[in-house]
Symmetry: D2
Subunit: 459 residues, 4 copies
C-alpha cells in the first residue's frame, strides 16, 4: 500500500537501515488487511484492530470532496459542517450516501462514501452467504429498521414488477404482534390483511404459535386478484415459531405475488437460514429483511435487504428519495470488520450455548413453581408459562424486574390482552426471555435469578 | 450541577482551600450552560465548546440502559455493540430513538436518547422561531432528507385528517426539477401531478421561473374531488423564484387540501421565512420541511418538519415504523449547540454578504462575455446566461470545472435538456452558483475565477 | 456527585419520571467510584471503565486555569497551546506539575494538576503497601526513569541529611550491568564505586550471580569517612540474584550511610517485596526506586520513589528544579485506575504462572541441547546456558531472533564480553528471557519455539 | 506515498474511474506534506491539519515494536500498557525515547519513536535558525524544563571538556530571581555564585535591572582557577533587561569557561535572537536553553538545548540516564507542525503588537495614578511603578486580581522582599505583566482594566 520511496525517506534520521527494515514488516502487517479488503471485497477472516478500522474510514472519507483541501465548493450542499465533532459522530461521511436518483448511485462529491457503501454491501453479502444462504445474490444496507425496510422492499418490488393498480396495494402478513412491520406497510400506502396465528402442534415444533398455509389460501381467495404481496416471518418471540416459509414461497410462486421474508434477527440462527435457503430454492422469495443491530451488533437504525435477484435490489435502491445518512451503513461496516468471519461464527456458537443455558435455567425455575417451558424450539427465546401466578399480579412482575434493572423480558397476560402472543388461542399467561447474539452468560443466569425473586415476592 | 460534597472531597489533597474555591468558579462556568439547557430547552445564545458538547452527550447517553453497569439485558435487542468505535461514530446512542409505536415515544431502555430527541426538537424549534417564524408550534427531526420527509409529512397529514380513499392519494406539486421530492411522494404511494413552471416577470422578481396560481386552479379543477395535497416550494436554484406560497396557502384553505411547503434550504434566508410566516397567517400550511445539512451544517441525512399545528406533528411522528437511527438527531443537536443563536445569525449575515459578492463577481464576468445575470433575486444562488457560448461546448464547461476541483455549479443547456430549469420556457442556457450558508468568501471568488478560465478555454 | 436539581431539570421532556428515576441509578453507579476516589484516596478494588477514567481526567483538568473560560491570563506561561491535539496527548494538563519551588507544590494556576499528582502518589502508595510493603509511608511519582530517579533520591537524601562535603559524594553500588543507574549517579555529580558480582551458591539460591557483604565492607573501609551512599539492587536479569539487602541495610545503619534500593521492576514479585519489607525493619533504607512502566504497565518515562520516611520524600521532591511534565504522572494514574487492585493482583498471579511456564519450556529445550537452566530462582527471568553453542555464532542467534520478530532475549557471550553478567566469574555463555508482568503465555511459548529454531539454524 | 495498486483496487466498486481519479488528487494533497516532511526534515511553511498531524503520529508509532502485531516480546519492558487510553495520552510512544546509553540513541524496539525524536530535533532547529540564529548547528529536545536543562547542559559540557575536579564545579550565574535555574545547577552538584543585579541606565536601556561585566570579572578573580561555567540570562520579567551577553561570551572565551545562555522564553523575540547570534560570533557560547511551552506553546515539561557545536549536543544527550518519556518531544513536534513556519512568524508579529498595546494601556493607567512605566524595553513584559500605593496594601492587590480571575501579574513589594526584582537597588514597588506569545489582545485589555479596578478598590 505504501511506496518504497516512503521507507527510503526514513533513512539517515538516526535509525539504522536494518531497524527500519525490521519495523516496516510490522508496519506492513497492519496495513495489509486494508488493501486486501479492497481487493477481495468480502468479510475478513479475522476481526480488525481499532486502528485498522479507523484507518480504513480515514482512507475512505478522505476521498470525499469536503475533505479535499484544494476544492472550491459552490453548491447548496457541500458537506459543510459547523464543528469537527460532527465528523467524529458521523464516521466522517458528511455527504451521506446516494444521490437524488438512487440510494446506491455514486455521488460525484463523495467518491469515498460511495465506495464505502458498495464495499459494505459486498461484505455483508459475503457474510450472509457464509451463514448458509449461498443462493442470495445481492444485499442492500438501508438507513432504517426492519419495519420501514419491509415497506421499502414492497415498494421496490411493486416498481420492479410494474404493479400499478389504481387502488392501493393489498399486502398479506402472517400475525406477529409487532407494530413496526404493520406500520412499514401502511407507510408506503399498503392495505394490510393479517393471517391470524394458531396455537398447537405444528410443522415446526411439538407446540407453539404458528400460521396455517390453508388460512393464507383462504384469505387470498377472498381478496382474489388484488393481493400484491405477502410478508412471512422467520423469527419472533417464543412461543411463536417460524412460519412455514417454504410453503408460503410455493404459494407466492403459484399465485405470482411478491414474497418478502421478515428475518429481523434470524441471521444469528443457522436453523432459520436453512429454512430460508430451502424456501428460495422451492418457491418465490423476492427479498429478505434483517436488522443490522439485532444481527450484527450495531447501534439501532439500519437493515439489510437481501435477494436472490440483484436487479430487484437495484430497483429497491432506486425508490429511496434522495441521499441518506451514511451512519447506519458505516456502523455496519465497522461492526463487521471488528468481528471478522471467525468472530461472528464464534458469537453464533456462544448464542447456541446461551440458548440452551436459558432453557435449562428456566426449566429448573418452572419445576419449582409448577410451571412449564413451552416446547416450541424457538432458536433465540424461551417462554415459560405463568399459569399458577395470580393474573392480577403479572403486571407487577414486570415492574419488579424493571426495578431490579432487568430489561428485555416480556410478560404476556392473555387474560388482559393477548397482544404479543400472535394468536387468540393461547391458554395461559407466560414470560419470554431471549438468549440473543451478544448476550452474556452471566446476564442469563442473573435474569433467571431475579425472575425467581420477583415471582416469590408477589406470592 | 455538582454537589458541594464533591468539592469538599478535594480538601487536604495538597491544594489549599482558596485555590480549590477559585478553581471551582471556572469549573462551574463550564458546566452551567449544560444545566441551563435542560432548564430552558432552547438554543443557547453563544456556541458551546467541544468539551461542553461532549459532556452533554456523555450525560445523555449514560442514561441509556446499555451504559448502565448494573443492568441485566435479556431482550432480543439491547444496544449491544461489537466494538466501542460504534459508540464514537453514533454519538453513543446505541438504542436509536423512538419505539415501535412512534418516532418520538420515550423508549424505556433509552431514557437518554429519548431526552436527547425531545431536547433537539425543542431547541431547533426555538431557533426556527427566532429566525422569523414565531407562528410555528412544533418541530420534528426526522432521520432522512427532504424528499423522504415530504412523503412522511403527507402520510402523516393524511392519517391526521383521516383521509382514506380506496384509491391512491393524488398530490399536486409545483415544478422543481429535483428528483427527491417526486420520489418521496411516490414512495408513500402518492400519484404526482406537476404544475409546470413559467418564465418571465412575476409576483416576486423582474424575471425568473415561477408558478402560476391559475395553473394550479386549472389542474385542481380537472382532478376535482380527488386531490389530497399540494406541495409548494420556497427555494430552488435560480432562475427559479419562490412559489407564490401565500396564494397557494389561501387556495389550500379554500379547497381543504393538505399544504406542505418544501423549504429545503430556506431557513438561511429571512426573506423566505417572512414569506412562509405570512402564508401561515393568510391560509393553510400543514407542514414545512427543511434539510438539516443544508440549513444547519450537519452531515447529510436529516430533516426538520415544522408545523403551526403540534397535533399534526404528533401524528406524523407516529407514522414512522419503529425505532430509528439517532445519528441525524444527535448530529443536529451538536451542530446547533456548537453555533448557538448568535453563531447562526452571524452565519446568516455572512451568507447575505456572500450572495452579494457572488452577484457582483458574476456581473463583472457577464459584462466581459456579453452575458447577463438573471434578475430573479434568488436569495441563495445566482444564474448567469450562457447565450454566447457554443451550445455544443456547455457540457465541456462542467467537465473543465470538475477537473479544476470546483463542485456545485450547475450548467443547464436547455438546447439539450431543459431539466433543471423547472420550465420549458427558458430562452438560453445558463450556469448557476450558490452562496449558501457556510460557504467561504474565497471559494466564491475562486469559483468565479475558474469559471472565467473555463469559458476562455472553450472559446 | 450530581445535584438533585439536575435530575429535576429532566422532567417534562417527554420521558416519564419513573424512567428517569430508573436511569439515574445506572448513571450514579458510573459516577460513584469517582467521588469515592476523592474521598478514600486509594486504589479502587476494581478497574475502572475508560469512560470513568476519562471523566476523572476531565474533572481534574477543568480545575486548571487554562480551562477556565473566564480567566484572564497575562503571565509568561499560561498553559497556552497551539492545537487541541496537545490536550489529548498530554492528558490535558498543560500547566505540568509542581512549581519552581518543589515538584509536589500546589501550582496556583493548576489546582487540577496539583490534585492529580497528590492523588496519584496516594493511590500508588496504597497499592504498594498492599503488595507487601506496609512499612512504607510516602511515595513520589517522578517524571523520569529509574536511573535518573536513583540520582534524584541520592541528591534529595544528601540534602535531607545536610551532607555537604566540599568534594563530590562517593556512592557505592553493587554490580548490575546496566548503564542507567551508573549514569544517574554521575549525573548528580556522584563518584561511583562498584562492588563486583560473584558467581556460585549464595544466600538466595543454589547458584547465581550475587554480591558479598564482606566485599562491601572492604570497599567501605578503603574509602572510609567519605562514602555518602550505597545503592543495592533487588532485581536484575538471571543469573543475577537479589542483593542481600537485609545485610546491606544493617550495614548502612551501622555506618550511617544513605541506602537506596534499586527495585526497578520488583513490585511485581511478592518475594522481592518481602525482602525489602524485612530490610526496612532490620536496618536502614532511605528510599526505594521503581519504574512505572516495568511495574505498572505505563509508557516509559516515570518512576516511583518510596520511603519509610515521608519527610525524606518531601525533601527529594524539593530538589527537582521547576515544573515538570505531568505526562508520566497522569499515565500512572490512568494505568492504576484501569487495573484496580484486583486487576493488578491477578496480573501478578499470571506472572507467576508464566514464570513457571518459561522455566518448564526452557528446561525442555535445555535437555534437548545438553544445556541447563541456571538455578538462581530469579522471580522474573530465566537463564539457560549456551555452553555447547559455538561461541563465534552466539551473536548470530540474537540476529536470527530479531529477524524472527522476537524482542527481549539477551545473549551474554562471556568469551567476548562479560558485560551483562554482572560478574567476571561466569563460566559459560547463556541466554536469558523474561516472564515479566503483562507478558502473554503465547509469547513465552512462541519465544522458546523460535529460540529452538534459531539454535538449530546455526548448528 | 500510496502505491498505484491501492487506487487500482478501488475500481469496479460502483464508482466511475474518473471520480476516483479526481478524488485521488485531494487525497494525495492531504498526504503529500507528510512525505515531504520526511524528505526535507524542516518545519513546513504552512501549519498542518489535525488529520495530518495524527497520521504522522500513526505512521511513526506503528514503527515501534509494541504495535507490531506479529512480534513476540519477552523482555522485562516491552511497551506493554494496561489500557489503550495510555496510547492516547502519550501520543502512542510507549517505549519512550532513547536507550540506557544516550537520550538520542536509536532504540531497537522503537524505531518510530527514535525517528520521531530525530525529526523533532531537526524541525525545531530549522525553525530556530529561521528565527535569526543561523549559527546554531544542533538542537536537542529534553524531557524537562529550563531549570533542569541548564543543569544538564552544564553536566554535558563538563563531560565534553573532560573537566573533572575532585571538588564540586563552581558555576557563576547573573542574578535572576527564579528558583529553577539555581536548583538545576545544584541538582547536578554545582556550587552557585550569583552576580548581583544593579539598577539604572545601562547597555540596553534607559533604565532597568542589569548585570555588570566588571562584577563578573571581580567574582571570577576572587574564585580563580575553579570556576567551571557561567550562566547568563537573555530574558526575565521587566524591569530586568537582558544580560550583556556579548561581553559575557567574550569573557568566557578569554577565560576558557563554559557559557550557557538561559533563553527561557526568548525565541519569541527577534531582538533577543539577534543578541544571541552576535554573542556566538563574538565569543564563546556553549549552549542555549529554551522552554518548549514558553516559546512553542506546548504543555509544560520540555526544553530545547541548542548549540553552535553539534558534538557538544551529542555529549549532552549522552549524560541523561536511560530512556525518557517521549511526551515532551512529541508534544513539541505536534505544536510545531500545527503552526508551521508562517503560523509561528505571524504569532511573533502579534506578540509585538500586543507588547505595544500592553505598554500603551499601562501608560494610560500610570498617568491616571501618577505612576510611570519603567523604560527598560523588555520585549515581552512591562512594569509599572507602584510608588503611590500604600505598601501595606500591595499584597492585597494580588489577591484581588486572583479573585478577579487574572493570573500572571507579579507584584514586587521591595519594602517587604526584593526577591523578584533581581537587585537590591530597586527604588519602588511595581507590578509587571506579560504580553507573551499566544496571549490574546482582549486578555491584555481586560487585565489592565481589572488592575485599575483593583487599585481603586484599595485606595
Amino acid at each position: 500500500m505504501w511506496k518504497k520511496s516512503f521507507f527510503d525517506s526514513l533513512e539517515n534520521l538516526g535509525v539504522p537501515s536494518h531497524m527500519i527494515k525490521r519495523s516496516s514488516i510490522g508496519f506492513n502487517d497492519i496495513w495489509k488487511p486494508i488493501l486486501e479488503l479492497f481487493q477481495h471485497r468480502k468479510i475478513p477472516e479475522h476481526g480488525w484492530s481499532n486502528f485498522q478500522i479507523r484507518q480504513l474510514l480515514n482512507v475512505l472519507r478522505n476521498l470525499d470532496s469536503d475533505k479535499d483541501p484544494g476544492s472550491i465548493r459552490i453548491g447548496e450542499r457541500e458537506g459543510r459542517i459547523s464543528t469537527d465533532i460532527l465528523n467524529e459522530i458521523s464516521g466522517g461521511f458528511c455527504h451521506g450516501i446516494g444521490r437524488s436518483g438512487e440510494l446506491t448511485a455514486a455521488q460525484p462529491k463523495a467518491a469515498g462514501a460511495s465506495l464505502m457503501q458498495n464495499l459494505t454491501n459486498k461484505i455483508v453479502l459475503s457474510l450472509i452467504k457464509a451463514l448458509g444462504l449461498p443462493n442470495l445474490k445481492a444485499a442492500l444496507t438501508v438507513p432504517f429498521g426492519t419495519g420501514m425496510s419491509i415497506g421499502m422492499a414492497i415498494r421496490g418490488a411493486l416498481n420492479y414488477h410494474k404493479i400499478d393498480f389504481h387502488g392501493k396495494p393489498i399486502v398479506l402478513m402472517t400475525q406477529i404482534d409487532h407494530k413496526s412491520p404493520r406500520k412499514g406497510i401502511e407507510y408506503i400506502g399498503g392495505v394490510l390483511k393479517i393471517i391470524s396465528g394458531r396455537y398447537g402442534e405444528n410443522y415446526y415444533a411439538k407446540e407453539g404459535v404458528f400460521t396455517n398455509i390453508e388460512d393464507i389460501r383462504n384469505i387470498y381467495q377472498s381478496n382474489s386478484n388484488k393481493i400484491s404481496a405477502i410478508v412471512s416471518s422467520a423469527c419472533f418471540f417464543a412461543p411463536r415459531v417460524p412460519d412455514n416459509i417454504k410453503e408460503i414461497a410455493k404459494f407466492a410462486k403459484e399465485n405470482k405475488i411478491i414474497h418478502i421474508i421478515n428475518n429481523a434477527y434470524g441471521l444469528q440462527s443457522p436453523v432459520l437460514s436453512k429454512i430460508i435457503r430451502q424456501s428460495i430454492d422451492a418457491g418465490r422469495v423476492d427479498a429478505i429483511v434483517q436488522s443490522t443491530d439485532k444481527n450484527f451488533l450495531t447501534p439501532v437504525g439500519g437493515a439489510v435487504i437481501t435477494s436472490p435477484n440483484p436487479d430487484l435490489i437495484d430497483t429497491i435502491s432506486k425508490c429511496y428519495a434522495g441521499r441518506a445518512s451514511a451512519s447506519p451503513v458505516v456502523q455496519l461496516l465497522v461492526s463487521l470488520l471488528s468481528m471478522g468471519k471467525k468472530g461472528y461464527l464464534s458469537r453464533i456458537e456462544i448464542q447456541k450455548q446461551n440458548r440452551k443455558l436459558l432453557e435449562d435455567s428456566l426449566t429448573e425455575l418452572a419445576n419449582e413453581f409448577n410451571e412449564h417451558i413451552i416446547e416450541c424450539n424457538n432458536p433465540v427465546s424461551c417462554a415459560m408459562s405463568l399459569k399458577n401466578v395470580n393474573p392480577e399480579k403479572i403486571k407487577d412482575l414486570g415492574g419488579i424486574l424493571y426495578n431490579l434493572r432487568v430489561t428485555g423480558p416480556r410478560f404476556i397476560n392473555i387474560h388482559k390482552d393477548p397482544f404479543g402472543s400472535c394468536t387468540s388461542e393461547m391458554k395461559w399467561p407466560y414470560v419470554v426471555m431471549n438468549a440473543a447474539i451478544g448476550v452474556k452468560k452471566e446476564h442469563i443466569n442473573e435474569a433467571v435469578n431475579r425472575l425467581k425473586r420477583a415471582i416469590k415476592q408477589i406470592q
